[in-house]
Symmetry: C2
Subunit: 378 residues, 2 copies
Amino acid sequence: MVAVKYEFIKQCKQTGARLGRVHTPHGIIDTPTFMPVGTQATVKTMSPEELKAMDAHIILSNTYHLFLRPGHDIVKRAGGLHKFMNWDRPILTDSGGFQVFSLSEMRKITEEGVHFRSHLNGDKLFLSPEVAMEIQNALGSDIMMAFDECPPYPAEYDYVKKSTERTSRWAERCLAAHARTDDQALFGIVQGGMFADLRVQSAKDLTSMDFPGYAIGGLSVGEPKHLMYEMLECTVPHLPANKPRYLMGVGSPDALIEGAIRGIDMFDCVLPTRIARNGTTMTSNGRLVIRNAKYTDDFGPLDPNCNCYTCTNYSRAYIRHLLKADETFGIRLTTYHNLHFLLQLMKDVRQAIKDDCLLDFRNQFFAAYGLNDNEKGF
Amino acid sequence: MVAVKYEFIKQCKQTGARLGRVHTPHGIIDTPTFMPVGTQATVKTMSPEELKAMDAHIILSNTYHLFLRPGHDIVKRAGGLHKFMNWDRPILTDSGGFQVFSLSEMRKITEEGVHFRSHLNGDKLFLSPEVAMEIQNALGSDIMMAFDECPPYPAEYDYVKKSTERTSRWAERCLAAHARTDDQALFGIVQGGMFADLRVQSAKDLTSMDFPGYAIGGLSVGEPKHLMYEMLECTVPHLPANKPRYLMGVGSPDALIEGAIRGIDMFDCVLPTRIARNGTTMTSNGRLVIRNAKYTDDFGPLDPNCNCYTCTNYSRAYIRHLLKADETFGIRLTTYHNLHFLLQLMKDVRQAIKDDCLLDFRNQFFAAYGLNDNEKGF
């Protein structure tokens, strides 16, 4: 009856970070983990085999985008999202809530749900807790997300309070509408903006509903990082220890480490794939902008400390050439490297938890990466 | 002292097609063969491992493009083109002649060479037999091509005659300037437009210079296919049987078969990769335009008779979705399929030569593909 189960292994003695495993119908996820984003049923430029080669345990796909195109009915008739996109490991789908608020046009929020126009063709559409469940049940993801409202930053206390209360009411409706509890787990999403008391209240509301996992939403929306970390610190203690905790939309190396330190198990972000398309790469010595002229005749790898496919086989000079010449293979190479970098980082974080030295690891990583205060970020 | 050698295996009893092998410093090429085009030191969207998985024996890269960007000095300092692009099988480079005439601006042809402006940034540049050899020696391709002029179609007899004679004089200069005969083979290019006597004269001029291989250039430039086949029929008998024969710029399935029937060993063309980027695919039942609405809910493979990576793992509905959503993974899938299709076709052609039934194979293939007259083409 429970599609997803969290297995706690141990806590780091230096921090609140925890090592664990999330068991799903499509396999086991070692946590803390990073989830590459496959918005439109594909992680941009990557094949499923490449994602496996870099040891991605789970990917995320976007309900809003698949609802618009190709439509969840097509994905369902294809045999579900796993089969449609040829990915047999776990998939998490978001609820569409965040995209409705960030991408769509002319949206109108009511207690019932959200009316909006498609950003693709202007079609009038409607999403609600019930519709979001119907879509995600059709997609067949291992982990579904409750339909929530993500308030902007900054926002007034009163607005955030009302929104957060509605998100709790919507969460109840999601639970009631979810039709595939045997093979799909529904996670609740804690909101509350940048207000500690609302975060705590939201966490209490949601944990009382007994979801199999909890996300923390509405962070990494433009606030300073110390505020995000404060919100984690006041929220996580109110989440149950026997369920996975997922911090939504976070993927900078520093925030992944800081999140893990604060007890987060799962992360996702478009950052590594998005910046890769502009030629920005993450390396053990910090950011590297490969289009820079100084790499024209640099025949070394992107990151001398990396053993990924890109760094094993190609030089900075070649990758720069491909990007300057608008060759998509260049973006394949930078995307591969950035995703591998974050997945390797999470492996290192897991090892550091095992070895009770995550704080030491954090300090070494930050020094090498040039991140000696939290605000700099990526 | 000879970098490339042709090994004749047998001739088909039904046609003039021949089975053979071309031995090069980077391995053996089974012929007749098709060479995927990697213009800018990458076969668009593909990795070297993918090209190997589809059994590409050799690829082509373009001297003109690499001269402009990143510059042959960069490729040379990277250790040569093979190392730069991570491809350890044979590479053929063209001479830049064709691109100077088709892409550059404000070109001026003199006996010495061609002055032109870069199509990228307007830089004034110069290519000549000597410069084309210098660039290709820097790139380090297994097979280099002589610097020639490719007359347009249609063109006057007198113009083509003068041009072809100059191409022969340039061929002598190429031989003299070629500095790496030990590990790079230089092929001559037969020109002569659509005039049989000029083709024969060009073939005689070039064979007297004893190149290790011969190309037939200046075809597939807009003329009707029967004219191309006539030109092949009057040229090939004047080429030596113990050297490879390469028909430049030809890649439609029908012309590959017709060329093989007329004794051609090597072909190249951007057609399979270029049409793949628009969503047009080659299948055993003819052309398939995957963006067509009727494939929205078609969950079968692109080609039910194909065992390539794309057809084994993905549906028409998924590929259509990716292309409609501007996802480059879709173009990877169509590119992979089209290249695999032509490489498999050449395997089938080789088997048919071995079995002395290439004419039967041609007729069956044409019927299935919907090609019952030569003019229809692809």
